[in-house]
């Protein structure tokens, strides 16, 4: 069975094709350019280049958040529309989990970082156990500083993954000292082939209900909630 994997959660645009256990095609860019004009052309190109017809796609895996709201919607809309119209299963994998997969051989904890402005980050905590990527603390929108102190309690080396970890490098290093380690750029671009493998054995979700995990309310909703709570 061929799996099509799509990741548009960050500046990284990733499309991958996995055939059974094997990654057979990957396209990755890490540039600040519109995903909208590029994702379908890339899918079209990669399938053709790998000699695969779209009718052979048996499953679609999408990195479903958190991340850039617009970016997530592009990947999710393409993924769910293709899955629904081609009548194949769709599964979502956390965009942070996908980033954490870069730390496969790291003997410690892995914290994928997406900047969320004003000193905040989207992050979770992961760990490889017997070659399996396990969730230690759930994905959340958090203050980078508080996250640093939380991680300190583990008293273990932590690998920060993702380009945005550079934005908070000082904060984490000041708190975790030598336990704070940072992945090189080559591991910061999430691999879409890995995404396909992470989603391979997951049960398909209902395409109509498939949506991004923004992990945050919109500003308007948050404001409305605050105002109406006070009353």
């Amino acid at each position: 069975m061929k799996i099509l994997a799509i990741d548009t959660s960050t500046n990284v645009l990733g499309v991958g094709i996995v055939n059974h256990e094997k990654v057979i095609g990957e396209y990755i860019t890490n540039i600040k350019r519109n995903h909208s004009t590029r994702v379908l052309p890339v899918i079209d190109f990669l399938l053709k280049d790998c000699g695969i017809d779209k009718s052979e796609i048996g499953k679609i895996v999408v990195a479903n958040g958190p991340g850039s709201y617009t970016g997530l919607r592009i990947g999710v809309t393409i993924g769910k529309t293709l899955a629904w119209t081609l009548k194949v299963p769709i599964v979502g994998v956390s965009s942070l989990k996908l980033m954490a997969a870069s730390g496969r051989y790291f003997p410690g904890l892995i914290s994928p970082i997406m900047d969320a402005r004003r000193g905040n980050v989207f992050t979770g905590l992961y760990k490889y156990e017997d070659q399996k990527l396990m969730l230690v603390e759930e994905d959340k929108h958090r203050s980078a500083e508080e996250w640093g102190y939380r991680l300190k309690e583990y008293n273990q080396p932590v690998l920060f993954v993702g380009d945005d970890s550079n934005i908070h490098k000082e904060t984490f290093t000041n708190i975790l000292l030598n336990n704070a380690q940072f992945a090189p750029s080559s591991l910061n671009t999430a691999k879409p082939g890995e995404l396909g493998l992470l989603g391979k054995d997951l049960d398909g979700e209902e395409a109509h209900l498939f949506k991004p995990n923004y992990l945050r309310l919109t500003e308007a909703e948050a404001k409305w909630r605050d105002e109406n709570r006070e009353v």
Partner: protein, 341 residues
């Protein structure tokens, strides 16, 4: 002749819509999922919330349109989608979904300008007679468009500031009407009398452009001054006075342009075309003109829908207009860039 079936997709603002049109003129299915209830508590459309809703609705709405049409994707001639103008994040959902369907089923992809869609809603009522003039009035647009033939668009007049619908929404807010305010103002106007003399923005002699910001400010000032003096204003009369000013300018300029350009038809298009005051006055004015037919679509086809996008898409398809998978949402898309001539 083979039957032509176009699937239309529209997500430019707060309606997720899909429709199938046969041979450019016949509605086979027309599905609209409105978000009005969601945005009500915020007093207007919140773009990020609109985008989030579109993602959740898009495949459901398309599926319903296809099911009602009783068609399989392989029976479609092409997929038409609103590429702009509109809210960029909202437009994107329709564009990505349309590209995905076109890709999955190797179908032609047809980009459609939202305003062209509003104009072509009229073709679902009666065949267009050229040359024609279309008055497009909505929350985001107030334009006079001249068409010599199918696919030709010449903007001869447009608003220099607020769209008519925008002015309606702002006046509605001053009068504390719930969102969306336009229909409330229209109803109140019908119950009141135009007792206040608000300005009419005619602009330079011969201009077909519009301006509603001065009128909007005049209405707001009238309300505030009355409040300061402790006077009461009859909201129905205020609404009637405001509406009279808007309608008078719209109708006068439309009729003048229709005469100058010698058109055979006047088409009313856009959400504000649902306004009774505008419909009535335009009808009265056109009755006095010989040889000009006035076409006003029913309410359902005036507000945003995908039937109109598929109807326009059908014409663009025949004219050979196609997009590839790089198609992007363009919030500022220019209508004349779509024009054939």
């Amino acid at each position: 002749m083979n039957k032509q079936y176009i699937l239309g997709i529209e997500t430019s603002c707060d309606e997720t819509a899909a429709a199938v049109i046969k041979n450019g003129t016949e509605i086979v299915s027309n599905v609209v999922a409105s978000q009005i209830e969601t945005h009500k508590r915020f007093g207007g459309v919140v773009p990020e919330i609109a985008s989030r809703h579109h993602v959740e609705q898009i495949t459901i709405v398309i599926e319903e349109a296809m099911k009602k049409a009783g068609l399989d994707f392989s029976q479609l001639t092409g997929v038409a989608v609103t590429a702009g103008p509109g809210l960029v994040g909202a437009l994107l959902i329709g564009v990505e979904a349309a590209k995905s369907i076109a890709f999955a089923h190797s179908l032609p992809l047809i980009p459609v300008h939202h305003i062209a869609g509003h104009i072509y809603a009229n073709r679902l009522i009666t065949e267009m007679q050229f040359p024609l003039l279309s008055l497009v009035v909505s929350g985001g647009h107030t334009e006079l468009i001249y068409m010599e033939e199918h696919g030709h668009f010449e903007v001869i007049g447009e608003t220099r500031d607020d769209a008519a619908g925008e002015a309606y929404d702002k006046v509605a807010r001053v009068l504390n009407c719930p969102y969306p305010g336009g229909p409330h103002i229209d109803r109140m106007a019908s119950e009141g009398e135009a007792t206040i003399d608000f300005p009419r923005a005619w602009l330079e002699e011969g201009s077909y452009d519009f301006s509603f910001s001065g009128l909007k400010s005049a209405v707001i000032n009238t309300v505030h001054n009355a409040q300061q003096r402790g006077e009461t204003i009859v909201p129905e009369n205020l609404a009637a006075s405001f509406q009279e000013s808007v309608v008078e300018v719209l109708v006068e300029k439309t009729i003048r342009a229709a005469k100058e350009y010698g058109v055979k038809q006047i088409l009313l298009a856009g959400g504000v075309a649902a306004n009774n005051g505008l419909r009535t006055e335009l009808q009265k004015a056109v009755e006095n003109l010989e040889g000009i037919e006035l076409v006003i679509p029913p309410l359902k086809l005036c507000t945003d829908n995908a039937a109109m996008i598929a109807a326009a898409g059908s014409v663009f398809y025949e004219k050979g207009i196609r997009a590839d998978y790089t198609l992007n949402a363009n919030p500022g898309l220019d209508l004349e860039s779509f024009s054939i001539k």
